[in-house]
Symmetry: C2
Subunit: 362 residues, 2 copies
């Protein structure tokens, strides 16, 4: 087992633990000073979420709020947050992971903490992220979605029972599920020189089968639709720490475009976090121009698609030339196409012709 890996993961764990403890200490000392306890954090209200063109992602502005137990309207979220911080520390201590949903039920059952529904509980977890300035994955709370990764990357696990064990991500030809173990692993070694991110499982399987990882010397990542944060963090790490360029390949419709954009620039929801966006990532298709150039089978854009495209057009993240051009062409042709549409030219066309052409062009 490599010392370096143990140390990195232990350091992260200890610093999370320390910052959770600090919240408790602050509250204790406030009470000892005969103050009503409060927690200070950046405001997450829409008017404090701004797009930072330099960072290429949404960030929180400088406005802060105090959640104050003197204020009767704050007592409920204040109590919820203190309990959630306690629960997070239990998870870190016990080296257990949990999910957003389990936290909600745990609160209801174990502590008589009232949440109207899971979304209230999710919101408090986000508040805790803001207060601690670290993502919930650091305190072991994961979402349920599952994405996957494949290619020549050797990882070293840090989860209990597997510490120091290594796995090469080509070992399982169906692709390796991205759960807590992959997310918390160290990336030891890769011969890949790029990352290819794919929206859909079927296309991911196609690329694995066509040995796209060999042909393009790439790591393949399947986001299973809108990419979970842990997967975005993995993409970010591969780009930033390992210098791998990132290419994103989605359905040719407003929802696909936005999957690419959230990987590149993050979401307003996660404006309080760093380490999720990959501003250097490139959306390589399916473009509206691809629909025309490759004569792809299409469906008509629905009213809902059109509405969404118009929203994207005015979104600050979509300022760049390619985005504006492609949105305009989508609007003009009124058509959309799925990744699988390339099958019209045979199952291997996408690997033999389309992707090489695209990767050369961008």
């Amino acid at each position: 087992m490599s010392e370096r890996t143990v140390r990195a993961s232990e350091r992260r764990r200890e610093s999370t633990d320390a910052s959770l403890k600090q919240i408790g200490n602050i509250i204790y000392s406030q009470i000892q000073n005969r103050e009503f306890p409060w927690i200070m954090m950046q405001s997450r209200s829409t008017d404090n979420i701004v797009y930072d063109p330099e960072l290429g992602q949404y960030i929180l502005g400088s406005r802060t709020i105090r959640r104050h137990s003197r204020n009767i309207r704050h007592i409920r979220p204040f109590t919820q947050m203190v309990w959630t911080a306690w629960f997070a520390r239990e998870l870190v201590h016990l080296r257990k992971t949990s999910t957003l949903r389990e936290v909600y039920y745990s609160a209801r059952g174990q502590a008589d903490i009232e949440f109207k529904g899971q979304s209230e509980s999710d919101g408090i977890i986000t508040d805790l992220e803001v207060a601690l300035n670290r993502p919930r994955e650091d305190f072991n709370i994961f979402p349920e979605e599952r994405s996957a990764i494949f290619g020549d990357l050797t990882i070293e696990y840090t989860v209990p029972g597997y510490e120091g064990r290594r796995m090469n991500l080509t070992d399982h030809p169906d692709g390796v599920m991205i759960g807590p173990a992959v997310t918390s692993s160290e990336f030891v070694e890769t011969s890949a020189d790029k990352v290819l991110v794919i929206e859909k499982g079927a296309m991911f399987t196609r690329l694995v089968e066509e040995k796209a990882h060999d042909k393009f010397n790439a790591l393949l990542i399947h986001t299973a639709g809108q990419s979970p944060r842990s997967t975005r963090n993995i993409i970010h790490r591969l780009n930033k720490n390992h210098g791998l360029p990132v290419y994103i390949f989605t359905d040719g419709d407003p929802w696909g475009i936005h999957i690419a954009m959230v990987i590149i620039s993050g979401s307003a929801n996660a404006a309080h976090l760093r380490g999720l966006a990959t501003p250097e990532g490139k959306w390589i298709g399916v473009w509206a121009t691809d629909i025309l150039d490759y004569k792809l089978p299409t469906e008509n854009l629905t009213d809902n698609d059109l509405k969404r495209l118009k929203e994207l057009k005015t979104d600050p993240r979509y300022k760049g030339d390619i985005w504006q051009r492609e949105i305009d062409i989508f609007l003009k042709i009124g058509k959309k196409a799925e990744l699988e549409a390339f099958s019209r030219y045979g199952l291997t066309y996408i690997v033999d012709e389309y992707l090489p052409a695209k990767l050369e062009a961008v």
Copy 2:
């Protein structure tokens, strides 16, 4: 690489190939005899789908139909089916897999075969299954859904490039994705003495983390909602060929109940197939009685839930005592509960208390 494994997988491949070729040969000889070609198959119309209490699953009755190119209404599905059979044989020959959606697009692009939409193409693939009397997985057409498996089972791959390579399913602590490679693998060895099937990813992760596979000496399978057919086939094989009893654990609502039932008794849609149902499988919860016994946090049943429960009550698969009793109690209490509801007693309660009690009782 084990000879046995190669032989088993090659035998399956050759017999699929032979039966596809046979369809072609029959059509050729019909034409040479100056007949309009036709294909004979069992009828899939609802009045020919019957529940077989002995087999414990739906089956097709004895009525057959001829799809006849003399009949103008049949020419379209006849042509579609011949093309699909050709495409399936290409897949088998080239050792490639494909998905339902890719088949649809391939037809549109490569052969000017018209399909109104994917559902028409899916239907023709089912027809081909009926005509060949084998599942589409045999001719390498897979769905997109992904489920997962974990525990002490050593598999041997048969997919190209991995033939004869072995993997133990505890190797990746996030669980091993069930795709074409796991589905087509041979099961070499297991120390487990039961299979625990779980509807949801979060609970699957919980059980992996709590080492439920060790504690209960079980293989853990995550169906990701309604179980894909390949996953049902894996459950069937573990039960039938390896003698492992199967316990199914779902949300306590009509949709969860039916996930269990489809694993146990199959679906009307797959009445033409064997090897998917596991009649000895047992649904162990969340029962309506569990909601009462364990005082679980609940939601109210919606109108849609109630309607579905009443449908299930009259479904022939739900004749057994437990099903009728639990459906009645659900209707009476008007409540439902999710798997995660047990978190109210702590994250490990389900492994420490509930599952041991349930496994003892059934």
